[in-house]
Amino acid sequence: MRFNYRSVAAAVALGCAVGTTQTALAQETPQRGGILNFVVPSTIPSYDAHRETTFGVIHPMAPFYSLLIRVNPANPASPTDFVCDVCDGTVPEPTDGGTVYTFKIRDGVKFHDGKPLDAYDVKATYDKIIFPPEGVPSSRKAFFSMVDAVEAPDARTVVFKLKYPSGAFVPALATPFNWIYSKKDLDEHGYEWHTKNINGSGPFLFVQEQPGAFVEGKRNPNYHHEGRPYIDGFKAIQAPKMAVNLQAIRGDRAAAQFRGFPPKAVDDLVKALGDKITVQTSDWNCVLLTTINQNRKPFDDARVRRALTLAVDRWGGSQYLSKIAIVKTVGGVAFPNHPLAATSEELQQLAGYYPDLEKSREMARKLLADAGQSNLKFELNNRGVDQPYKVVGTWLIDQWKQVGLDVTQRVQPSGPFYDTLRKKRDFDISMDFNCQSVVNPIADVTKWLGSAGNNFGGYEDPILEELYDNLAREGDPAKQRKILRQYEERALSDQAHLLVTLWWNRITAHRSYFKGWKISPSHYLDQQLDNVWLDKSLM
């Protein structure tokens, strides 16, 4: 039995609380021409999306590349609506009991250097992502643990053979970091070449990057989606400070910023610009977590970890923090509103989600006393980014203070913060996050596994591993849901390995003359910009 992702598509699409203006956006006739300026609140670590995990690469660089399949640009809010990009026709149904996916490659797709794109390029790309040679980083290798082999029997056919049927496979294929590289480039230049060079097949041709300033692209006249892109080019302006982003949009130096703004900032923009600004909102497939270092005492004690989660008022935090930060939804391990996610009633059975806050905190104090840690002092490692890290960090410290804990904060710039979390691991408790692109709960929840490459809690939990193994191999959505509840209870409540704070809430604001772009549950998704256009009557 396999997970039928299409069968839940409609329900999920309805379930996702997305958009305020999308109906209007969908109905207009696109106009040609113009240069789109947008701001990117980050920098570019390298050009190679296969190794990178940041929108700082996706936003300025995705327009230069194509994917095998992608989320439907006409319906990016849906976590299950995928369409072909360089493949031909529709996304294929699997054969052989759900273990074989055969893709036909579209005719006439060309790399920017003029070489035609074929099945061998797709195979070389996915071989690099799924089976990278030792020492070659691939950030999404784990997404494809179910893949046994990638084959290209001829120039137009790519076959993915799976070890077992998995509902997580197709969403993993549509991940927007899976840019198709030319086999020729990989063979001739090696696996490092793409970190500094660009040769894609996307809607825009690379013109230049001024490091730390901007990336410029121009329209690809040979783009394989006929008639697109609509705009003549774009300039992605790098501006890490939020104030600069806001001023750029306000002063019309940029039409958009695709990551999102906090509610107060958007209110100010709307107040200043009125109908010249368009706001879109969505639940965000990003959750802010705290990782507890179980290699350090007393955090190896489950009672202490449970006390930490019991002290946090998530329901109240959602109400207040959503006014000042880009977090809002109370949720468990899976993207809220997804059919596999816990309902409010189910969440309220978990430690830290009980409706009676005082009772929770009383339990927390008792657990700390039982563990001999009533006056526990520790340090919270946090990232020097206001939204939402520092805001939520400050809130968390106050929450823990309510049960007698004494917490200080070590705020570090992103580089040292990641070093502390991932390499040195010299922290007590650290802010962490699980931000994914395509909503794919079965893959996304691996974050809680002690064995996961992106888990830094320093623990082993064989029971949780076994639950996940059962989940990954289960094809029936109802049974998957049941297993996921057990997994969630173990990870968040019984063992409290990583604490969920709140799920992010995406609010974007862009100039109203910028059209065709629709918000999605991830700031990584739908950034190729082939479907966007500029309404000159509103400029």
Binding site: M242, G316, T394, Q412, P413
Partner: protein
């Protein structure tokens, strides 16, 4: 022939003794700006010392029901995005500012005093080498130097103090050295040498006390600079961290997002920084005028 005796009342020869209040008043009249600066300094110290007595609220406790309340009867200077009373945080912020300011200034100026006097005392190649090292340090603007140190050591109160202290040392050493060079030539230094005193004793007990005037002037000016630097580093997210109340941090948290919708969030911490630095600078200027004989005679 006898000399007529003139009765002299000894009390007439001695100038009338003035009370401390009278002396202070006289000083205030001669240095009105300095007095105003002194008042700010005293008020700030009082705020820092009695913060827990005079503050109406807990400076770190969140109170979301009152988030972003404008100034009013309950919260005189309004509240921030976490519902924390801004006045309370400014009062407690004085502690942070003074702690960092005084520690950095005293350590920096004192280290500069000792090194500057030692450089003048030893002279020769040591002086030449030491002054070139000082030149290197002084080639960097204060904020750049502090940023570099914080970038290496990481943020946090202790590291901020180190970052601010280091650039102060060469500044003070240079000024003190020029005064100490003339003192070195005075015979009592030779006399001390002749008595067999060690270098340390000569430097610390005989020379250093005679360059206290420039030291004190530098010290007061350093406090103002240190407060400003601490605020700058905190504003850049490299200094003191939340939830500790610190003026630069308060400004950083509020300036970007709330400058328009809740201007009280950045304005009052900004005013506190301005007033404190202005106060210390005025006080330092007045002290310089009082201690510098050339300026005093004018």
């Amino acid at each position: 022939m006898s000399t007529p005796e003139i009765a002299v009342d000894s009390a007439e020869l001695v100038p009338p003794k003035r009370s401390l209040a009278e002396q202070l008043w006289s000083l205030c009249r001669r240095q009105p700006l300095g007095a105003a600066g002194g008042l700010v300094v005293v008020a700030m110290i009082a705020m820092a010392v009695f913060a827990n007595v005079i503050s109406p609220y807990d400076p770190e406790a969140n109170s979301f029901e009152h988030m972003l309340s404008p100034p009013g009867a309950d919260f005189w200077l309004g509240t921030d995005q976490f519902g924390r009373d801004i006045m309370t945080r400014i009062i407690y912020g004085a502690r942070t500012a003074l702690f960092v300011g005084f520690t950095a200034a005293v350590v920096g100026a004192t280290a500069g005093l000792v090194l500057g006097v030692a450089s003048a005392y030893f002279g020769g190649k040591f002086d030449l080498f030491f002054q070139r090292v000082m030149d290197v340090f002084m080639a960097f603007p204060l904020i750049i130097m502090a940023l570099a140190v914080v970038a290496i050591l990481g943020p946090g109160t202790q590291n901020v103090i180190i970052a601010i202290t280091l650039p102060f040392i060469p500044q003070c050493a240079r000024v003190v050295r020029s005064s100490a060079l003339s003192i070195r030539e005075i015979p009592y230094v030779d006399a001390a040498r002749a008595l067999g005193y060690g270098h340390a004793r000569i430097i610390l007990r005989h020379m250093a006390p005679n360059v206290v005037a420039p030291y004190l002037i530098m010290l007061t000016s350093f406090v103002g600079q240190a407060i400003l630097l601490e605020a700058s580093l905190s504003y850049l997210g490299l200094g003191v961290q939340e939830p500790t109340p610190a003026w630069g941090l308060m400004l950083q948290g509020g300036a970007e997002e709330y400058a328009e919708s809740a201007p009280w969030v950045p304005v009052f911490p900004g005013l506190a920084i301005t007033l404190a630095v202005f106060g210390f600078n005025l006080f330092g200027d007045a002290l310089r005028d009082l201690l510098d004989p050339k300026l005093r005679s004018r």
